[in-house]
Subunit: 336 residues, 2 copies
Amino acid sequence: MATLEDVARQAGVSVSTVSRTINRPDMVNADTRTRVEAAIDDLEYRPNRVARRLRRLDGRAHMLGLLIPDIQNPFYSDVVRGVEDVAYARDAAVILCNTDETSDREQFYVDVLKAESADGVILPPIARSDLNLDIKNIGMPLVFFDRRISDASVDTVVVDNERGARDIVNHLIELGHRRIGLINGPETIATSAERAAGYRRALHDHGIPFDDELVREGRPTRDAGKALTDELLRLDHAPSALFAANNQLALGVLESVREHDLRVPEDIAVVTFDDAPWAKLLDPPLTTVRQPSYEMGRRAAELLFDRIASPDRAAALIVLQPELVVRASCGSGMDT
Amino acid sequence: MATLEDVARQAGVSVSTVSRTINRPDMVNADTRTRVEAAIDDLEYRPNRVARRLRRLDGRAHMLGLLIPDIQNPFYSDVVRGVEDVAYARDAAVILCNTDETSDREQFYVDVLKAESADGVILPPIARSDLNLDIKNIGMPLVFFDRRISDASVDTVVVDNERGARDIVNHLIELGHRRIGLINGPETIATSAERAAGYRRALHDHGIPFDDELVREGRPTRDAGKALTDELLRLDHAPSALFAANNQLALGVLESVREHDLRVPEDIAVVTFDDAPWAKLLDPPLTTVRQPSYEMGRRAAELLFDRIASPDRAAALIVLQPELVVRASCGSGMDT
DNA sequence: TTGTAAGCGTTATCAA
DNA sequence: TTGATAACGCTTACAA
């Protein structure tokens, strides 16, 4: 790899002139500039990003960190793609960090990102508060996504979870459902709590009493979704509809329903938070609330670059709107 | 962030002693070592990875590049996770690069990875041969995955595509199918060619004449899969079974079948290459060939670290075996 | 407008 | 066993 010095030699100038040609072209004489540019082309010179990053306060050679629980969850794949497209447009590279929501991995990646002098980090706020503190003190711009946190000092982009949940539960109710089961993640996570709130709100708005027997929460995994649904289906007075609060839980809900040989929607209606490419392929096609997950990533990355450019602007909170996608998995409902 | 110098001052030694304590603990006096280690703990010192990487031939502060077409394709998400888990275990960070198989993005990321002095790169061989050449000359260890290439000088991990395709087509034939449609990617891509070969091989082994009317290829996308299937379904003598050669095509195939109001498997059997979390939720559950995609990533990363450790060992070719997952989407077959 | 030189945080070489 | 110091490739005062 050619270095600044190689270019300087070839162009017959000093390294600083070459550097200037690259970073402040207007400050160099037109003739020298062409000469230097020729040398750069000739040697296929590319600035070494590591050397650039070694200098503090350097605005070039951007490197972003992106912490997510698990790339195998399609919601996060979408977010990652959104972030990366923005990063690409700005010549930035992104370090991908799967944490499994595990403090070991979170700690490791936070350390790595610091040690890499990353220009900023995008991540969902972390449950463990001490680590969160560590992250607040990470010393570089931060953007939260997916989950909001009471602390309003950090740029954040989320979706209106309560509204999404409310919309889809309303839909169920309007179709005649009264006993609606909710399979949710732990309410200690903001998204789960908000979706539960939307569920309760829809019930309340229609004067349907809240029955906590119908609400189950557990880890937001496929297996948990299945086990929780099994519980609900074994109830004496089983629900006529099931609402899975995210895509992983949905997989488990659907699996359980299938194993119980229940027809959808004749025997039971099923709806989910998070749309998926395969949702319309199910029989019947699944009614869902679509989160703009790609856009969430995009906006988060834009917020981050904004923040890098103006470190002192007030923190922004972007609330994206979910969209109810009505397909056929709710039937016409029935009061059981 | 504390630096080596801070630690040195605090411990009352020179920076080289601190550096040595970290990198060659055995070469430093036990007393000084404890003193230095105390200072390190005290200041929460972490080596700056950027500075480490600036020095050539440095074996610490690993940084890997991972080029994939698109993280939103679950096959690649799995691979990424496999790579990352190995990287994490070795304290390495990975830069994620979505290329869309586009030479602009490929070029950009290859440049970035060079400029970041990455320790190595994992990627599927790239179709455009000039870029491939560029990549061969990238000057850092390389591991290919997914697609094999005639050039045997690069470490490679692939799946036995021909066998996978053969197995699943055999399965179809044994169930009585004779007219089997193949929805494939472009045969210029090695994986597509191999899967087509497996398809032909199964036909041939059973004395079924090859009918190229039943084989359609196009871009490996959902839309293409749908359009291609539409074509097949409009045939006078339509196939009794459809084989989608990858997960994106499968989505389109399934969509087309559904829009034609065909029952599976009564009217038509459907099978796919690539298993998916939702494959068993379909009605009927989908018979597939499962690729060990996570393991592909894992093995690729291991190969890369091996290569970094021993740059001169002979190139390895790892061929992973796919697994036929029989579910119910093939019925008992019928000769139409 | 250009060049010299210091500095970013490490590691490696060489002397002590 | 330890410490000075050069080097990695770049940017940026500062001087010319």
